[in-house]
Amino acid sequence: MTVHALLPASVTPRRKACGRALLIGLALLWLVLIVIAPLGVILVEALRKGAGAAFASLSQPDVWAAARLTLLTTAIATPLNAVFGLAAAWCVTRFDFIGKTLLMALIDLPLSVSPVISGLVWVLLFGASGWFAPWLNAAGLQIMFTPVAIILATILVTLPYVARELIPLMQQQGSDEELAALTLGARPFAIFFFITLPNVRWALLYGVLLANARAMGEFGAVSVVSGHIRGLTNTLPLHVEILYNEYDFVGAFATAALLAVLALVTLVLKSFLEHRHADDLAARGRR
């Protein structure tokens, strides 16, 4: 308040207010153009021929098959990555050993790899002329273009999310409580389930939420390994592409709207966790 009395004449409160309104307006306009308008257009296009047509296209058996595969993939990939995240965070934050930095870099690596490359590597291993092709052929096994390949690609893409939430938090919490329990005679099992897990539960949930959203929405990696067989190896995001390329725009945007709703639910849960349990997530300057 008093600072204004000291300001030079050129910076009057009125000029400051004008500048502020201009900056807010510009920022919000950009947000609308880049983020909010795409969200709106999904809804408009889905309802172009009325809500009936949109719901009719959502009740196609192919959509249901795609939704089932998406849920199955997520239900396998996310728990596996959650267990991995807990194990990785435990060994990285509770012990000191040579090679720890390298291990942490490897955990983060999938984040900087293109989704298409995350799919490509599985083709290089299990595809028709992949490294393991002779062995797979001899055993009569097929991995490429099956749900197994989709799950493998999804695990690779979502691998770091839980670990990245847990590691900074467990580092910050330190191991005092666990050591105290140990001196009091607690068994390893009890230490983990009664001390470590309750201490990190919100961060674990937060990481699972992010991994889950990414797993359900993954497109590039899954697209490379899926083979796009309708009803068999089609996930919801892949189904959006198929319908779009067949010029079934209402169907494509109705399916897209379904995925957009899932994304919005994720955002709501995410900001709830950030506001309600900020202290239980890792200290990262969040409000």
Binding site: I24, L31, F95, V113, M216, P237, A263
Partner: protein, 281 residues
């Protein structure tokens, strides 16, 4: 001190249990899902020797695709630095109705499946779309041109920049800016001479993340790009095309080149960031 049995030279002693189990599981999991697959990516391109790799990477089509992916990602990252910086500034410094909603919606590009973003941006910026239609009379075409690629990369990169700067701006004392202004600095001077140096390391790291994400981006780009070889075909799409022709070595060569190039660029970015941080300290 009594020397414990089984003490090893590579691990500091600890009373806590579960080291072998957790490390063993972590290493096995990482090997299966990250190490072995990426080793295949590093080795497969060399099937036809160095000439094979050079041929796969230096064909005009591959060159054009790599150039588009990297330059479009760089352009998008620059625009995101400017507009993402503005958004972070407005969200941390000002109060206005709907601020919390605006803050939450910034993360939408993280949560929205890329294919969904792709068809939405295409519908919006196509010549018969709501925004594309406004720009068409001005002679501006966005969808199905390289500009469309940049727009999609701006969308996916925006949250990286905003979320990197926000915490730093929050911690930056407003009194420093006020002090600058009482000493006669214009708002522009206080922004460029006081605020910018403080947030520069965070800004650079956010821009680096947005750039890396843009280079590899596939789902949101392929719908809006038009995918004309030599003109609007991105590198990840070229990988997919080569896989469909069963040219595994060629696909892996492009993928490996992308990874090595982004790694080198990010390395440069990180050392620049370290340089600035040291100079500022």
């Amino acid at each position: 001190m009594i020397r414990q049995a089984g003490r090893s030279f590579w691990k500091a002693p600890s009373a806590l249990p579960g080291f072998s189990l957790s490390l063993g599981f972590t290493v096995a999991y990482l090997s299966f899902f990250v190490l072995i697959p990426l080793t295949a990516l590093a080795i497969r391109p060399w099937e036809h020797g160095l000439d094979g790799v050079m041929a796969a990477v230096s064909s005009p089509r591959a060159q054009a695709a790599l150039r588009l992916s990297f330059f479009a990602a760089a352009a998008a990252a620059c625009i995101n630095a400017l507009m993402g910086g503005l958004l972070a500034w407005v969200l941390t410094r000002y109060e206005f109705p709907g601020k919390r909603l605006a803050d939450a919606i910034i993360d939408l590009p993280f949560a929205l499946p890329t294919a969904v973003a792709g068809i939405a941006l295409t519908a919006l910026y196509a010549q018969n779309g709501p925004i594309g239609g406004l720009l068409a009379p001005l002679g501006l075409k966005i969808a199905y041109t390289p500009t469309g690629v940049v727009v999609a990369m701006i969308f996916v990169g925006l949250p990286f920049v905003v979320r990197s700067i926000q915490p730093v701006l929050q911690d930056l004392d407003q009194e420093v800016e006020e002090a600058a202004e009482t000493l006669g600095a214009s708002p522009w001077q206080s922004a460029t001479r006081v605020v910018l140096p403080a947030i520069l390391p965070a800004l650079l790291s956010g821009v680096g993340l947005a750039f890396a994400r843009g280079v590899g981006e596939y789902g949101s780009v392929i719908f809006i790009a038009g995918n004309m070889p030599l003109r609007s075909e991105i590198a990840p799409l070229l990988i997919v095309t080569r896989l469909e022709q069963f040219d595994y070595a060629g696909a892996a060569a492009v993928g490996m080149t992308m990874l090595v190039l982004s790694f080198l660029i990010l390395l440069g970015f990180n050392s620049l960031q370290g340089l600035i941080a040291r100079r500022g300290a």
